[in-house]
Symmetry: C2
Subunit: 346 residues, 2 copies
């Protein structure tokens, strides 16, 4: 008999509320014969204030025992900026080698977009997750003086770039339009840019059916608002991916519906799924948060674990739920979760 | 008697066509007593193919003799990506210490935007122009092998950050809304982020009337499409500025109307003014390019040289011209230039 042993990290703010609904929908969608085990972890601001820790070696060992991780959101104004981001979120991405940061953008019928007209948006960004300017390399001299110098080093390896480029080509190959865009800034960041472009072109030769293009990151932001239908699969570095996926989320319905997966395709370590949005302390505890992004992240989680039919049922339920929202009064976090749970079970 | 000794660099592609119109409008707007001298330089793809050079020491010395530089666009598919960008454009920005890269975004009446509704957009980005990931620091080992490592080093100095932050505060102070946003990614790029945030907060104490906010670059892309009216003045690093100003141009009428100044506020070296758009080889030589961005760059140039009234006349002429376009047949590059020249003279 099958089983899923899930680590659950509600985290801070609305993380608690949206994860509860994600689990509700997960339980509802799973067939009877799949045993779902969950263990909750208290990482985030609470743990940090109680113990000063963000993620210990023992914590990491415990998390490794799970098949996957569902994360709500991490971050609270009471904790200095960056402490939880780097001490927990990025630490996990690096420790568990989450090199494929997967972020689909699909504008579903009935969903509002800030763009005029009725753009057709359906693409997925494959963001590198373990290199680039995110490695924490760099430093500061003469801190706090008028002669301070601070550096940030973007580290890019053939190993790291090739595996994520290969993953993106495989995804493009599997989609009807079979298009892949590399986004970088190779006219300025020539060392990293050459590595990315060169490997991209090499791997392209193995995927003759995939149509490729290269685009500078600045130009890409223009296309994302003027011709988003142009994109099918995008592969890009860690920082450019961070920036363009927030823009992509904004044009395709907002961060209320943007899901993401921090994926280790080899399965050596558990992958982690989380909504793109943050902990939104301003609306926390009020039942106002939209759990849709978390529910869609649960679909990515199921797909990753091989439950394709169940993932598709969630995607469909969300599409119907969103399409039926227009003109109706706003529902609470739990009401949306309940409605989705009913739909996926039915 | 007054005089302007201008270096003119038409460059590649549509650069030639739009610069001709920029000069037409400049001549028309200047009072009789101002003597305009121009000298044209052939930098860009032509020079590169003829001599293999992009910008020699002698070229730089010659350019230094001018009061300002008007640039069309640099770049051609026949030249490998990055060669002209780094060998000419960025080289000049660094040699002439153009640390204030000024990029206003104003959505004028009658101008199309990809955003729904009728957003009100009127802000200016002060992009640092001589540091950050643009310094060319970094390198590659084991190039072309499966063990290649390529690094890019973002270099940030207290000196470099403080002068551009101070410039941005002064600009915010001089505007009616007096708002300044710092855009960075200080939760991840903690070394550079701390330097920027710390200096920003220090300088803020000297400008008590300016309302400040901090925003991560990824979140900023969301606000630029959902709440662009939120911004008044933005100050940011070289790479983030590159990215968000293309997005800002896209939402406020497109790169056809986006002007920029590469400014050395001390006047030690001439400042350079250029449209944000590129050389657009696909439409070059057809009289299709919109010269408006270049004409608005001429206004920035005049303002920089102290010709405020003339700069304002150009801004007004462009506003009227844009407002009257709706429903009319498209005009050629020269027709638009002619119309603007008549308006600013009148
Ligand atoms: C919170 C932050 C560290 C994170 C990132 O920069 O990757 C977030 O913006 C994201 O996109 O997941
Ligand atoms: C052409 C390129 C080097 C340049 C930059 O990256 O600064 C351009 O994108 C710009 O914004 O002026």
């Amino acid at each position: 008999s099958r089983s899923i042993n899930l680590a659950v990290i509600p985290g801070d703010g609305i993380g608690q509320e949206v994860v509860a609904e994600g689990l509700k929908v997960l339980s509802a969608v799973l067939p009877q014969d799949v045993k779902l085990e969950t263990k909750e972890y208290d990482f985030g601001a609470r743990r940090y204030h109680a113990t000063g820790e963000t993620l210990t070696d023992a914590d990491a060992e415990a998390l490794k025992q799970h098949d996957a991780i569902l994360l709500g959101a991490i971050g609270d104004p009471s904790v200095p900026s960056g402490v939880l981001e780097r001490g927990f979120l990025l630490k996990l991405r690096f420790l568990f080698d989450h090199h494929v940061n997967l972020r689909p953008s699909k504008l579903l019928p009935g969903v509002a977009t800030p763009l005029a007209g009725e753009p057709s948006i359906d693409f997925v960004v494959v963001r590198e997750g373990t290199e680039g300017p995110y490695t924490g390399n760099g430093g500061t001299i003469r801190k706090g003086t008028p002669h301070e110098v601070a550096t940030e080093v973007s580290v890019n390896t053939a190993f790291g770039v090739e595996r994520v480029v290969r993953d993106a080509f495989a995804r493009a190959q599997a989609r009807p339009r079979k298009k892949l865009a590399l986004i970088h800034k190779n006219n300025v960041l020539a060392f990293a840019g050459h590595l990315w472009t060169n490997i991209f072109n090499q791997v392209a030769a193995e995927f003759p059916e995939v149509t490729t293009e290269y685009m500078h990151v600045d130009a890409a932001t223009i296309y994302l608002v003027t011709q988003p239908e142009r994109f099918d699969v995008i592969v890009t570095d860690n920082l450019f991916g961070d920036i363009i996926t927030d823009l992509a989320a904004a044009v395709s319905g907002g961060i209320g519906v943007a899901a993401s997966g921090n994926i280790n395709p080899s399965g050596e370590f558990p992958s982690m799924f989380e909504p793109v949005h943050g902990s939104a302390p301003d609306i926390a505890g009020q039942g106002k948060a939209d759990p849709t992004a978390t529910v869609l992240s649960v679909a990515l989680l199921l797909r990753h674990l091989g439950y394709e039919a169940e993932a598709a049922r969630i995607d469909e339920a969300v599409a119907v739920d969103l399409a039926e929202r227009t003109g109706k009064p706003a529902r609470s976090t739990a009401e949306i979760g309940d409605a989705l749970a009913v739909r996926v079970a039915g």
